[in-house]
Symmetry: C2
Subunit: 655 residues, 2 copies
């Protein structure tokens, strides 16, 4: 039966890619036994794919998606034979790479290499935090493994090593990574691009390393898997030697990696396996035994868990209730007692953000996070808590080290796991380093919270390597990301609320290093509209100023000056463009009337993208070069971000 | 004398940061002896800082800039005491982080961690390529080391490991990295964020690992340096134990990392060193001996090299001449015999790009490059050459492995070194992974060439993880980057010419996976204008279509349809926005007349940023969500990129 299922998975990989005339058969053919072993072992309930205490599985090599889809189908998930036949077709639930929320049983979107292992590190982190917090003696409500199947590509990407290093440090013993080691990448033999000793490399990071010499040796795979499970402290990497495109005439070569085998070679391979030559032919024997067992076993495990949960609910009703709300992501926070800052109080929004972080830590039981070694600069520390570590699972501060990318991907994994609200912080300019993770969060529709401080040239002395210019445009141009740049302490509170309450959209909070004054009409409650009038004109609008973040103070100061000279100015604070653009046309026109043709957009960043609101080239005060190293105030002056210059520009525009 | 110089460097680090009231004294105080040893050892000529055969030095920990500036000053470079006093001030040559081209003797801009080692790998790569190609028996015209000083931060960033892995594979034996190992990062003790065994980790990648137990032990430093130089094959990492903020009352803690010591603690430290308490006090003894020796030694080495070069020029005039042109980056290519494609010929621009790559390989002696394991997809292979490797330095194809970020940073290092034209390729969607390197190239004004294929949703079946949406906006919003998206084979040739001839601006070539037809009026020679009229209207413009890349075919096809219905349409091909915006207002208005109010911008990517050319929201046909997995043609239809829809949109706009 083992062999029958494995060969069927291989035959399906051949048929699906042949039918789609595209796809990647090489890895599924080689690693089918590994996938089979994992799925047979996993604690999952195919009929309840989002069971919270299931084992997690990340197919880091997302291109091997046929393997995952076949396993899901054969395990009894809601993915039928027709879905397999529709592989890579419009509106199918079997897209080219696995997509979270799109297909039941897919725990993470994958494809961009390296991120799979790092997401799994996040899942294992979430498991250990929740287990430590909610399990009681005799009640292991949270208790599962996180499995990964990765390939040679993942073993080269830097983020894999950033995250693996943390997994070793944190002793995430329930993380089990199978490394499909087939010595071939797209461009040819692996030794063209790597001479790494993977065993030594992983052991140097505190992992258990196991080796399976033959990927078809089910007994050896089983043994390694059991050894991995037995190891409590060290995460485990199991290197499994396989043959890419196993069974194909071109086996062992990169020719099998990214193109279907075609009919002839496909038949050749099927004959080699000794399985049916008919396309998409799945023996009823498999459904009757393997599929049946998978479903039965899953139901049994699930029911046992439910039984235990019920007792837990009786013994610990408060904790059980809290945990359930966290699992459902509907844990309610009452923000009513938050102390807003008073008008004219001055505070850097990174510090305002820290106030909110510490407030939220008192309100939400699993709110946690940290930074990529910049906690004292990004102000991301929870004061009343300790550092998360191998021996302190309840520490709510996470030091990710100088590993921005891993931080963001790990946090994606934590959110994918569920039960925890997590944030990560770094300097805004280093959003560059983690952009690939932000993109995945936006694509997966998971509400990660990203705190970016030091948000402009006002950083000053650290100079152009540390001054963001194009970064606001980089993030705003991404679909499904709320880029929120609050103008003061109170808008910062509003920004955090949006980030906390968001269900399907990640947030980027863009915060100042320098002090900003609380404006009289700034309104935390209007941040959710994306933009609002923060300073009304007296009668008619001579010029409409649109500003974000730290430039709102400047805009209002300039407006006040201009009023003295008889100009009538409206100032719009626009903390979040995407939210503003989701408002009704009516609201948008109330805030920024189309008939107001005299405008000035003020933002200490690239002008790129602002022509949507500016009607002429001269209606943007931005920065289209890189910055420079000097005192922040001097740099701002240099680029014209002062009252005198704004006044001058407005007068030119109005004239 | 050794100790006097070292303590002076320390005192200067204290004084410079105190004077600036900002900066990072911690690392300079700890690693002053290492910096001193390197500079004393290096083959450099302070009076000829761009001497091509000098040893290169990358201060990977750019925040330790006072160390570098002091060493440059004391070595006799063109950086005077006043420059040191002006540290981090407006218009100074001593900005917060070292900046290439800004300060003589600075071989690379640094600050963003991890990139320093990777740039150095590129420099060492360039050295070995040029040495293999141009050195002759008895003529080691190219023969130098590349030194790096890095810190704990670099040891955590993924890109360090991507690049280090390649350095080991490639046996870059002349790369010598000093690792200032002080066990402290900004957020606290290193063991909060790492339990890596650095020795095993580096040895697993094929490096020589050496250890110096006491960073103040000059003899041990010297011994390690010599051992590193003696090792021909393996790159060397020398881990040197130091104390951050050495001498300060707060030594050994992160408190000394990123803030000046202040007067009191500064005095305390100076007393500890036993050096002058006067600020910026540099003993004449240093100038008279150390500085004098550095200059003399440099001049001597330089003159010896010139002498050798002269003989080389006599013995090998052609090679010498070629090398000189390469060094000056003025090697001339005569493009006259390039065979343009004929109208209506069809070719994917990634394949057109491969034609140009292979053409350039016959024209330019050190043109080389490769991809991050996608050469057969990005079409970046030089057919008549072999793979660069430890045993084949003259191979012009580089397989960087699945390491996009390292690829781009290494290439930055190659260009910083000089003498080589290099390109790197990956899928456009993975430009995310290497964006931090592109930013550094743009900032450093170095003309790297980045080839991005599979440039839109037309990728099809691979789905949203592989379909760029926001990436054009991400790159276009960067200052000093030419983002060129050619519409056919001939524009691709023009795009490559711009990339090859660029002196201070990196290029991103955005190429299609699918076939594109050569348009009758497409003009390789007009790509340099950024945009031009590719299809003239008959009399008056009813609607002006602006398209880039693969959408130009569509725009012209739609225009032809619309003409049948009596509409008069102009089509503008806009391969490069930034170049267009550098043209005269007159030219810009000739191509896109301001009086043409009816427009449609067509691009299979985010609409973000296109309001600069579209005058209303409905004048952009873009994609503001993520893509989907299906046949490319179906995905394009789904998002409305077909003739019928463009015709319909234009009619609505004109009406």
């Amino acid at each position: 039966m083992d062999q029958l299922v494995i060969n069927t998975i291989r035959a399906l990989a051949i048929d699906m890619t042949n039918e789609a005339k595209s796809g990647h058969p090489g890895m599924p053919l080689g690693s089918a036994p590994i996938g089979y072993k994992i799925f047979k072992e996993m604690k999952i309930n195919p009929k309840k794919p989002d069971w919270f205490n299931r084992d997690r599985f990340v197919l880091a090599s997302g291109h091997a998606s046929t393997l995952l889809y076949s396993l899901l189908h054969l395990s009894g998930y809601n993915i039928c034979l027709t879905d397999l036949k529709n592989f890579r077709q419009l509106d199918s639930i079997t897209p080219g790479h696995p997509e979270y929320l799109h297909t039941a049983g897919v725990d993470a979107t994958s494809g961009p290499l390296g991120q799979g292992i790092a997401m799994a590190v996040g899942m294992a982190l979430a498991e250990t935090v929740l287990a430590s917090k909610y399990n009681k003696e005799d009640y292991n409500i949270i208790d599962h493994y996180t499995y990964v199947l990765c390939g040679d590509g993942d073993m080269q990407e830097g983020v894999t090593f950033e995250a693996s290093s943390l997994a070793g440090l944190w002793k995430l013993g329930k993380l089990i990574v199978f490394y499909d080691s087939n010595d071939v990448t797209l461009d040819g033999p692996l030794n063209d691009t790597s001479s790494d000793n993977i065993k030594n490399r992983y052991e140097s990071m505190g992992w258990q390393y196991l080796y399976v010499a033959d990927g078809n040796d089910l007994i050896a795979l089983d043994k390694a898997l059991k050894m991995a499970q037995l190891e409590d402290e060290k995460p485990t990497l199991i290197e499994v030697k396989t043959i890419i495109g196993y069974g194909s005439q071109k086996q062992g070569t990169s020719a099998t990696h990214g193109a279907p085998l075609g009919q002839e070679d496909g038949t050749y391979a099927k004959e080699f396996y000794g399985c049916s030559l008919t396309e998409f032919d799945i023996s009823n024997e498999i459904y009757d035994t393997f599929t049946y067992q998978q479903i039965k076993q899953g139901e049994k495990q699930y029911k046992e868990w439910l039984k235990q949960l019920k007792k837990y609910q009786e013994a610990y009703p408060q904790q059980a209730n809290e945990l359930q709300e966290l699992i459902n992501d509907d844990y309610r926070i009452n923000y009513g007692d938050y102390k807003l800052k008073k008008t004219n109080e001055s505070q850097a929004t990174r510090n305002s953000s820290n106030d909110v972080i510490n407030y939220l830590a008192t309100k939400h039981p699993t709110f946690m996070g940290g930074s990529a070694d910049l906690s004292s600069s990004t102000m991301t520390k929870i004061k009343d808590s300790s550092l998360f570590s191998a021996t302190n699972r309840l520490g709510r501060n996470i030091n990710y080290g100088i590993r921005e990318f891993a931080m963001a991907v790990i946090n994606n994994g934590v959110i994918l796991h569920g039960g925890i609200k997590i944030f990560g912080g770094t300097f805004f300019v280093f959003s560059d380093y983690l952009k690939p993770a932000l993109k995945m969060a936006a694509l997966m529709k998971i509400p990660t919270i990203n705190v970016f401080s030091h948000d402009s040239i006002a950083v000053g002395e650290d100079g152009p390597t540390h001054q963001p210019i194009e970064h606001l445009a980089m993030l705003r141009s991404m679909p499904n990301l709320n880029v929120i740049r609050p103008c003061d302490a109170n808008e910062t509170f509003g920004a955090w609320q949006i980030a906390m309450e968001s269900k399907q959209t990640p947030s980027a909070l863009i915060l100042s290093r320098q002090n900003l004054m609380v404006e009289a009409n700034s309104d935390y409650n209007k941040v959710k509209y994306g933009a609002y009038v923060i300073k009304e004109e007296r009668e008619k609008v001579d010029c409409l100023l649109i500003a974000t973040g730290s430039e709102v103070n400047l805009a209002i100061a300039a407006a006040t000056e201009l009023e003295k000279d008889g100009y009538d100015i409206r100032v719009v604070s626009m903390p979040c463009r995407s939210l503003f653009e989701q408002q009704s046309k009516k609201y948008q026109n109330q805030v920024i009337p189309t008939k107001c043709k005299q405008r000035l957009v003020i933002e200490m960043a690239t002008s790129y993208g602002w022509h949507k609101y500016a009607l002429k080239d001269n209606q943007i005060l931005g920065i289209d070069t890189y910055g420079l190293s000097a005192k922040g105030s001097q740099v701002m002056d240099y680029y014209g971000f002062n009252v005198d210059n704004v006044v001058k520009l407005v007068k030119t525009i109005v004239k």
